[in-house]
Symmetry: C2
Subunit: 213 residues, 2 copies
């Protein structure tokens, strides 16, 4: 089992994985077996610390988390992961949870909150939703990242010109606002279009919106 966990950190697989976190070894094993039965990779962890140290949280997939963790609270761990910038979808399980707990978890973005006992199918459905959510987030994030990378190659002036262009200002207006000549604006503008790989102003507007302008 230790080998299996280590490999989870090492390999850069594209198939989604389920990280099971529960302090009960028999439950861990049962869940991992359940996922293996549908040919889905799964790895078990004893607690939050174990997960953080031994799992590759950058991989596509989701976390199946018992609310009551040894040492830490599952809900706090959820917030902790978010602070770390981790966006892996989380599904909670609990044997002794209550309504406020579940509400708090769902408000914080949990995919589901399953009260034991639950059917295998409930887990599988939740994981399926979590996988889809992860794919969506990753796709969005990849698109944003690609645009952000392009934007990094812009100089300060080019940034300013781009901002003005997507506001719909004319070259002469941009020139006046920046205190430079119109011909220079055209120069920067051309550079922006090339660097941002935008084939039209409409294209540029959409890419700029991904940057939050």
């Amino acid at each position: 089992m230790n080998d299996a966990r280590k490999s989870a950190k090492a390999q850069g697989n594209d198939m989604p994985v389920v990280y099971v976190v529960d302090d009960d070894p028999s439950i861990r094993e049962a869940l991992v077996d359940l996922f293996l039965s549908i040919r889905t990779e799964a790895h078990a962890f004893e607690g939050a610390q174990d997960l953080l140290e031994n799992a590759d949280l950058q991989r596509p997939g989701c976390i199946l988390l018992d609310v009551r963790l040894p040492g830490a609270n599952g809900l706090d761990f959820q917030l902790h992961l978010e602070k770390l910038g981790n966006r892996m979808p989380i599904i909670f399980m609990t044997g002794h949870g209550d309504i406020p707990m579940s509400v708090r978890a769902m408000k914080a973005g949990a995919v589901d909150f399953l009260a034991k006992p639950f059917r295998d199918q409930d887990i599988l459905d939740a994981v399926s939703v979590a996988f889809q959510k992860d794919r969506d987030v990753r796709q969005q994030s990849a698109a944003n990242g690609a645009v952000a990378d392009l934007a990094k190659s812009l100089t300060r002036r080019e940034h300013e010109v781009m901002a003005a262009v997507v506001q719909g200002l004319m070259n002469k207006q941009i020139a006046f606002n920046l205190g430079i000549s119109e011909i220079t604006v055209k120069l920067h503008r051309g550079n922006v279009m090339r660097k941002m790989e935008a084939r039209s102003v409409a294209d540029l507007v959409r890419k700029a919106e991904l940057l939050g302008l």
Copy 2:
């Protein structure tokens, strides 16, 4: 009380209102009093039917709903409202709820799910959040509606030209695609800009995105 309810349907107030739905008269009264104490308009209803018939659900505000309604299920009522196109935020209360209930409600977009007994402050906080959510939704909806109204005045051709423009096509390309001359495209394009009240292509792109293009 009946008068107060009627007036709720009649007047077109801009201040947000809370519609309390609970089958227990003493709870209804206590909650309405609570909201009056913070100068917030509130009206009580016995059940789903009562609410649908006697409340103005187009007003800004939110619904405070007991999960166990006489006759109907609160969660089903939530879905029913959504099918009716109503977007009023819902806060659930319950004395005998369970976790699956709360999870289902939150998944369906409920603002909160409060298990009795709860503190007055919990209710007030939830209502505050619900009011804010309602304001946000309404603001977004108003912006969309305004653009949609403008778009209604476009002819079919103008629509087609707009779609092509926001794709970043040049006039000559648009002309070729539509099988018309470039000068005609310019004509339509000018009409589109005027009717959509867009002062630049960037402006038009953003408005078109609100229309779902």
